[in-house]
Symmetry: C2
Subunit: 202 residues, 2 copies
DNA sequence: GTCAGATTGGCAGCGACTGCCAAGTAACGA
DNA sequence: TCGTTACTTGGCAGTCGCTGCCAATCTGAC
């Protein structure tokens, strides 16, 4: 039970589960607040645990790593991504398919402000960036079987080409979000995404 | 003096420097051997220091982090990259310019086998991958001022477009090296790079 | 030979993270 | 209502990467 129960499918809603969810939210909010106030690296697990009113040991049971405190629900991200991309018409263009996936995960943020703060922390903290990039690699591999069949098999091995295409899409998302944060959240991220992709595929 | 002196430019060649270089090589070789034998995560700094005959403290003075023990000389990488790209003709195509940079840094490995082993470790170890990706981001930012002037300023802000283009090149390098390792070092990495880029820019 | 400056190793400590064990508490049956 | 059971919690010690500090040692120059 490393993950906080997904809200939606027949929640058992016993007192236990409700308490767990409450504690989970409390920890998450405390963490985001402290990260925002004093920076990610400057905030220790001990401090988050103290202010959230739980022990370090318990905090690590809810969230396996410090990064998870900012990353949100990684499984949900993965699922939305694969569901969206897997649900695209079989004859759709690969780039349109990936674009739909990117748009879907962007819609996962609770609010404009939350998105901006997360992206801001992400792009300004080395350790977080590294962690995100590593998770990103995992997502890219998940997408591989969904994207490969959409490539022309006659043009040689599809695996490296699919990897390159997928990674490029994520790269454009990263550059877009970085630019978006630098512009203080003005404009639409997807427009920036399109601009980046156009620059690459020009 | 965090960095082992570059061999080449008028080495002072005092006993000190020679001893330092020797110790440096000894540590580096011990580390690579242990990483190869038992894996990166399974090898502790204590073990490397013990087998290399130095204290942990000294090891950390030579190499600031565990990753540096595999990554080789990061400053050299950066310099070769920027020199090569900066030295390309002003009217050359951006993609050709970046291709030249990629080829130059690939030539930095001592041997085919060393390259393969490094890439193998890199692509099979999560912590190393994350570290590389983070360093990569740094290199990409270094390249920004060299690439931006080569883009059409009339088509809007060049910064995000340059970032996207540079990151795509590195992405193709990563996918190419991954594929190369999977193929057990058969073929030429640059061919794989070209194939990846073609898939993206198709 | 001696002195200044650099290098080295040991030690204590920090922060993320884990395993283990005892104490506490919700849920369920008798 | 009272256990009994199953799960959660917190504390403690320990690992590993990494850093600061200090004393011992060594090198090169005078």
């Amino acid at each position: 039970m490393e993950q906080h129960a997904a809200t939606g499918t027949g929640a058992p809603s016993t007192l236990w589960h409700r308490t767990r969810q409450l504690a989970s939210r409390e920890i998450l909010e405390t963490a985001l607040r402290l990260f925002t106030e004093q920076g990610y690296d400057e905030t220790t697990i001990a401090q988050i645990a103290r202010e959230a009113g739980v022990s370090q040991r318990t905090l690590f049971r809810y969230f396996g790593t410090k990064e998870d405190l900012l990353g949100g629900d990684q499984d949900r991200f993965r699922q939305v991504l694969t569901d969206t991309i897997g649900g695209q018409p079989a004859d759709a263009d690969v780039w349109d398919v990936l674009r739909a996936g990117v748009a879907a995960v962007l819609a996962l943020h609770d609010s404009h402000e939350q998105a901006r703060e997360r992206f801001r922390l992400l792009h300004s903290t080395a350790s977080l960036r590294a962690g995100w990039l590593e998770k990103r690699l995992g997502f890219q591999e998940d997408l591989l079987p969904l994207v490969e069949p959409r490539l022309d098999a006659a043009a040689g091995s599809t695996t490296p080409r699919a990897r390159a295409v997928i990674a490029t899409a994520f790269t454009c998302l990263d550059v877009a979000s970085m630019t978006w944060v630098a512009d203080d959240g003005a404009g639409d991220i997807m427009d920036l995404y399109d601009a980046c992709l156009a620059a690459v595929r020009g």
